[in-house]
Symmetry: C2
Subunit: 569 residues, 2 copies
Amino acid sequence: MKVDMLIKEAMVFNSYFKQFTKANVAVKDGKFFYIGAKGSETFTAEKIIEAAGMYLVPGLIDIHLHIESTMVTPATFSYGLLKNGVTTIVPEPHEMANVFGIAGVKEMIKASKNCRLDMFYAIPSSVPATSMETTGGAIEIEDIEELLQTERIKCLGEIMNYYDVISKPGGKTNKILSYMSENYPELIIEGHVPKLLDLELQSLAFAGVTSDHTHQTVAGMKERIAIGMFLEIQEKSMTKEVIDYLIDQDVDEHFCFVTDDVMADSLQNRGHLNVLLKKAIAMGMSPEKAIYACTYTPAARMRMYDRGVIAPGKLADFLLVSELESFHIQEVYKEGTKVYDETIPYVQEESSQAFPSSFYESVNLNKLDEDAFQVKLMKNDGKVKCRIMNVKNGSTFTEEKHDDLNIEAGMLQWEESEYGLLATFERYGKNGNSARGLIGGDVLKRGAVATTYSHDNHNLLVLGQNKEDMVIAANEVIKQQGGICCVHNGEILANVPLPVGGILSEEPLSIISKQVEQLTATLQALGYEHYNAIMSLSTLSLPVSPALKITDHGLIDVNKGMVVPLVVK
Amino acid sequence: MKVDMLIKEAMVFNSYFKQFTKANVAVKDGKFFYIGAKGSETFTAEKIIEAAGMYLVPGLIDIHLHIESTMVTPATFSYGLLKNGVTTIVPEPHEMANVFGIAGVKEMIKASKNCRLDMFYAIPSSVPATSMETTGGAIEIEDIEELLQTERIKCLGEIMNYYDVISKPGGKTNKILSYMSENYPELIIEGHVPKLLDLELQSLAFAGVTSDHTHQTVAGMKERIAIGMFLEIQEKSMTKEVIDYLIDQDVDEHFCFVTDDVMADSLQNRGHLNVLLKKAIAMGMSPEKAIYACTYTPAARMRMYDRGVIAPGKLADFLLVSELESFHIQEVYKEGTKVYDETIPYVQEESSQAFPSSFYESVNLNKLDEDAFQVKLMKNDGKVKCRIMNVKNGSTFTEEKHDDLNIEAGMLQWEESEYGLLATFERYGKNGNSARGLIGGDVLKRGAVATTYSHDNHNLLVLGQNKEDMVIAANEVIKQQGGICCVHNGEILANVPLPVGGILSEEPLSIISKQVEQLTATLQALGYEHYNAIMSLSTLSLPVSPALKITDHGLIDVNKGMVVPLVVK
């Protein structure tokens, strides 16, 4: 019998029994055809792989992530993931949606279509996440409807406003959920329900939300599994108690691993979903169980019936691994075709601009001058008590503190204080809003940094200790139509141009990863003491992340869900 | 908070942990709203059920069965199943399709729509099962396409011609499977793959078939599970070795229980899927595991995401059971509404004709006379060696044997022999075919029985020991437009009128079940020694069931797949 490929004597992962068994594997038309004892006496194959001593593992599947977190295009992302054994993903283009609305989603899907990696999309459900910011785009019910009708969609992405679901029956989020329940009752709806328990948690499930990917505790996991919520375990949830629970309990069907956000340098230097897989094994999980949670359960969760297992009729997406514990990947195959071989140089193909020209002109701002970083107050002179965002290493949450600053001739003398200035400028040409706040703690102590990569609105956000550096950084970012630029003493020390929507680079992974590395090092050198300075910086504008943040509407008291003035009454 | 119902202090089945836990359960809008410790202090309910000491179990789900096997309408079936705790089924109207083609399928679906029990349909994929018989209807690719587009379909029903799939690449079955793979790659395709193993079995899986409901062995189950086939365990598969395997192995996700064919008297007297559930428990399976296989896994297999578990947002289909081992059902609820209460008389509603008038005129035959049961041969006198269908109790398979019979004036003298005559008459007005064969073994020794309930073609099949009784039985069935009539010494001893397509009764379950009981007793009294005489009789015309059967094309050698003459050369 003719087949395309015969893999001989591999240790083959059987997902249904969660065990490895020695077998021959025949591949035909990009699918597994046969797994068993029959070999060359039965099959004539164009290609034969002698795989004795190797492990045959299904391609890894990551069902919750944002490509924009890596600041690269789908093509670069595909390149970066394949060598790490990831063959299918479900990205949610939440950031592109905040910049461009439905067009951002559609263009990301379009840019994914010719990638070797399979990308099935989640529709961003919470764009904008609040009404306290100006974004470039919004996703409304009719947009979701259009995307469901026209694109290859797997689910509705994470419902971020869990508070609204519980307490605002007529709010936008509940309107979306009701519409889906009515019109798409079988649609998978992804959740974001940190810390919720009991009746509040169950309200989300009743509304149709059936997963959670936020930070987990054992008590929280028990309640989630008990009501049928699927757990998507991120690296930050991989504590000893969580992993021990997943190892010891009979809950294999109810969780998988996901990456959510991976920085470009981390993708280049550490890897991707395979990093979590290895970590789980290192923490005591059996390789079989860890592989199951990176292949079978994510496919099952997203109802991808054609993959995630090595069985007749399933897509021949697979890895050849030389050793289970280290999970050393030797070769990667997508639908029976080799896409990575560690013995052959792995080179990223050059690519031209992948998006419409308007996507490269998204920073609608004139050059700024020092006046933009003046804080003008009603009072002419004296002291004034101000709200301060206080950053602490280890968290993206800030604290609100209060302190007295001097005023001279109506101008807040922030440069002479111990605090920096955080300013944001609406950049979509919608209203020209800008806002300013004070910031302290484990942030930049010298110079300035400007970024259009600022969640979720991605307006121009500028953080600095002096106006001169802030102007240079801001104008560099405006000039290059987006990115992150770090300046000290009038000199640009690090720069990550992000010309696509102000949030993505089209450089190859090797370059963007170095740019990001250099930026992180520079921010740290300038006193930004956060373990992930870029994440800390880019979430200072995120109005669903406690406690005091800034948007173009002003300072946001996130816990109260309202704009508050800089000056404390 | 207002809810519709609060069930207090029940032992609630949690499907995700496969365990019972004491909890209160709130129901709202026909769905479960909350399961936990909160009670009357939180919820105001219109209806409160004090359920201390009772077990709350999800409604049972049967995903492989044929309503026609019970010879009743969907309305009667719904009535019969609800009291047994079955709240959702996936019937395959294979017999109605053989009689009426797509119209039969559509009318069954239509007749199901107002039933309290939820019925989601499987499309019969193998109608007719072979080309060696004349049926009233056929299901072609365009019919499947139309049904998928217009009806509430869950799957493509059992692919019966597994032999064709393996060995006839261009045959009808492979054409259907290719079309589905191309156009409906996610469609669930049900299988019928008795005894197949290794490469042959995997060929079916490669072609898209992903379940099996035939008789199982442990070796066969292992191979099926290993390639991702879902096992639908019928009562006949519930041997000690099979149940022990399912108990001992970690394969809970890979099997469920199904009834397939339940006779009307069995439904009335024994029950339905609950019979298998109780039997599994009696054989040593934990109640939790048995319930899981009658609720959670069948729902998962059929991708019914809205039911099968007691969890927020899921349909409130549930049973109150007083004791787990005996599975004594006290009350049954469908979407929060009580549909059965053992303390209240359970009366079947009267119903009028549920089908179009043409469905009551499906036996297109004139009255027969004794000539119809003469076997005329070319030879005038002497002896002739004939093929004989030999029936053995315990099986629906026959054996072929040969014996010499006398001929006089060109007529086979079968009445003087030890054998009976089996004659079949094409009854759809398509070609007027008829055929005759000889039968022996554990069948009717006296009198005659005529039936239009004869798989799969449902032509008029008449079995008898003398022409007079055969004429009376046949004409009675023709007169009443279908059914099964048993005659001895010129007297009708039992009669089951089946006016809908010649295969269904519209009598209430209490009456049809008694008619079937009486028929079985009569057949046995007349010497039909088979443990299920009706099933034995009705499969004598089934040309996919070995070894020698009869259709209007003649005697069928099933193993050779061809028509063979009565006279052995």
